[in-house]
């Protein structure tokens, strides 16, 4: 009797590390050019990084550094010129629209409304990708929308009109719509841009909490150095379409590097929690 041949099993560690990578940006690059024969207007050079469930990744850089382009590559709105962006092994660009919306939610800078709608209607839009054509919202959809509003602490806003609430409240409702999509990957494009400081901290606290509880992978585009230093697990530092560093805030935040990227004198110190804090200095 011969024992059947067995292929060697991968070790538990190998399996874990493999299954834990949710977002995999693999040598992705992009070029904006008016037409192929002309010189490109903007180039995002190939870059790579990976993110796990529950992790917050910050894409950091000054204006025109390629932050939004990178976010579009991750969201699948743009197809990388070279390389790939994988979400749980699927290239984000080639996912069908409905499947993509079930896995990736995007919170944009501002959501312009042509006709006013109420907050609950807005949040229910997040369930569109789960609804069959010509079907009305199910009880489950409504329960999920209510839960999403509760998770961002905005249940009291449900019946308010979207154009009659403050910027911070609106941002919460927009975030609730993204949560109603029940995504794996939550993308935010400059979410703190129009918020005052209290609302900024509130938003990032909820993000931190939501990422931990719902195991979202969060990617946030911003140029808020200190918010990134406080809240991000990983920083992708961009300058003029080049990725300079990928790593923890503590490893990326080096004074000379940040001064050169942001063109401003500054100091970096470590807080007791091991988080970097940046202080901008006057140029004179």
């Amino acid at each position: 009797m011969s024992t059947p041949l067995r292929t060697p099993m991968p070790s538990v560690d190998q399996l874990r590390s493999k299954s834990e990578v949710r977002l995999n940006v693999e040598q992705a690059s992009y070029v904006y050019a008016p037409n192929p024969s002309q010189a490109p207007l903007f180039t995002l050079e190939a870059l790579s990084f990976q993110a796990k469930p529950g992790e917050i990744v910050a894409i950091l850089g000054p204006n025109a550094s390629g932050k939004s382009t990178l976010l579009s590559l991750i969201s699948g709105a743009l197809e990388p010129l070279s390389g790939r962006v994988f979400l749980n092994g699927d290239a984000t660009h080639s996912l069908p629209p409905k499947i993509r919306a079930q896995r990736i939610a995007l919170v944009q800078q501002e959501s312009r409304l042509l006709f006013p709608s109420r907050a609950w209607e807005f949040v229910l839009q997040g369930r569109h990708a789960y609804r069959r054509r010509l079907h009305f919202e199910s009880d489950a959809d409504i329960a999920i929308a209510k839960n999403a509003l509760a998770q961002v602490g905005a249940s009291h806003l449900a019946d308010r009109w979207m154009d009659k609430i403050s910027g911070g409240e609106k941002q919460r409702v927009i975030l609730a719509r993204a949560l109603a999509q029940q995504p794996l990957l939550l993308l935010l494009d400059e979410p703190t841009l129009h918020l005052d400081i209290g609302a900024q901290v509130d938003l990032l606290d909820s993000l931190r909490h939501l990422a931990a509880v719902n195991r979202y992978t969060v990617v946030v585009v911003t140029h808020e150095l200190n918010l990134v230093g406080q809240y991000a697990d990983q920083v992708v530092l961009l300058q003029k379409g080049k990725c300079l560093r990928v790593g923890s805030p503590a490893s990326v935040y080096q004074r000379e590097l940040l001064e050169q990227v942001f063109q401003a004198p500054l100091t970096v110190e470590m807080t007791s929690a091991g988080r970097p804090r940046v202080t901008l200095l006057p140029k004179t």
């Binding site: 409304l113 042509l114 229910l124 019946d159």
Partner: protein, 346 residues
């Protein structure tokens, strides 16, 4: 939270259907020849039972053969223009979009006139003759939307002011072409410039064309209705809609083609009746909210109501003469357009 249910949708449509019925009854009664409600009811029952031959009175003939078809035409044209207006508003993300204001009706009219001229040249067999006008009008509408869309783009984005200006100029340019064609090439079955420029329901088109318009409305409006929830999201912008799971290119092409069909069909039987597509969807939004699953069917019914009323006014106010129904809708619609524009700018 009070999400939409089928019951609430049907209730809203039911209320409007009852209003439409009442308006139709009144419109049948009004006119140069007065008819009693009893006589009206009796004759209508006979029509429904297929006993038209039993209607012997001249009054009955006037109601059944002249007023009723004209009212049915007003219903289909009004519904088509309103659904087209609501669709263009969503597609172009512009609350001031309307087939007439954007020159799409004029484009359809030019297409219809050219088709009629070509038809005279080619001397087609009668079966195809009825088809060429709506087909020409559809092509005219589709090409005009494409042109206005390109005019309204600035740096890859639709700019609503540029879009409106482009549409108004296109409308004026196409009206000049209509006037030119009418004055140089007037021929046998071509109707006059006032019909194409202002619209009228006074001459009943051939029966085949009526069927085409009716069936075309059901197909095109049905196609648009399948995208109703997508249109709700498209209002927030194409990029945002895409990230919420809308297949943007597919929705765009369906709505673009179907709205062109609706405009083309309406124009081929009634000329360019303006502002119905602007007024009615706005009124329905105020009454029932901006969810397209409600907005599209209520706009269809509301458009029917409005055009039946407008046409009844057009044929009774200066009786025994008539004014163009497009003049009636413009008298109400143009000031309303200004009001909306001012409110948006402030």
């Amino acid at each position: 939270m009070r999400p939409l249910t089928l019951g609430r949708l049907l209730l809203r449509c039911g209320i409007l259907a009852v209003i439409l019925f009442l308006v139709v009854v009144i419109a049948l009664k009004l006119g140069a020849v007065q008819v009693s409600l009893y006589g009206l009811g009796r004759d209508l029952v006979r029509v429904l039972l297929g006993q038209s031959s039993a209607i012997s009175t001249d009054y009955g003939m006037i109601v059944v053969d002249i007023r009723l078809p004209r009212i049915l035409l007003a219903i289909v044209v009004g519904a088509s223009l309103s659904v087209a207006g609501a669709s263009f508003q969503a597609l172009l993300r512009n609350p001031l979009a309307d087939p007439y204001v954007l020159g799409i009706s004029s484009g359809a009219a030019v297409g219809a006139i050219l088709a009629l001229m070509l038809e005279n040249q080619l001397s087609l067999s009668p079966e195809f003759a009825g088809l060429s006008t709506p087909l020409g009008a559809f092509l005219g509408a589709a090409i005009t939307i494409g042109a206005v869309y390109l005019l309204g783009r600035r740096e890859g984005q639709i700019d609503s002011t540029t879009l409106l200006l482009g549409g108004v100029i296109t409308a004026s340019f196409l009206s000049a072409i209509i006037t030119f064609l009418m004055s140089t090439l007037a021929g046998g079955n071509l109707r006059g410039a006032p019909f194409w420029l202002m619209g009228s329901l006074s001459t009943l088109p051939p029966r085949t064309l009526l069927y085409i318009v009716g069936i075309g409305f059901l197909v095109a409006a049905g196609a648009i209705y399948t995208t109703a929830s997508d249109l709700n999201l498209l209002l927030a912008g194409e990029r945002e809609a895409m990230h919420l799971g809308v297949d943007v290119p597919r929705v765009r092409i369906v709505v673009y083609l179907a709205a062109s069909i609706l405009t083309g069909l309406a124009v081929s039987v009634s000329g360019s009746i303006g502002y119905v597509g602007l007024l009615v969807p706005h009124a329905m939004r105020l009454l029932f909210g901006s969810d397209h699953r409600v907005l599209l069917p209520t706009s269809a019914l509301g458009g029917a109501i409005v055009l039946v009323i407008a046409d009844t006014l057009a044929r009774t106010v200066v009786a025994p003469s008539e004014i163009s129904v497009g003049a009636v809708t413009a008298l109400v619609g143009a000031p309303f357009f200004i009001y909306l524009l001012r409110r948006r700018l402030s």
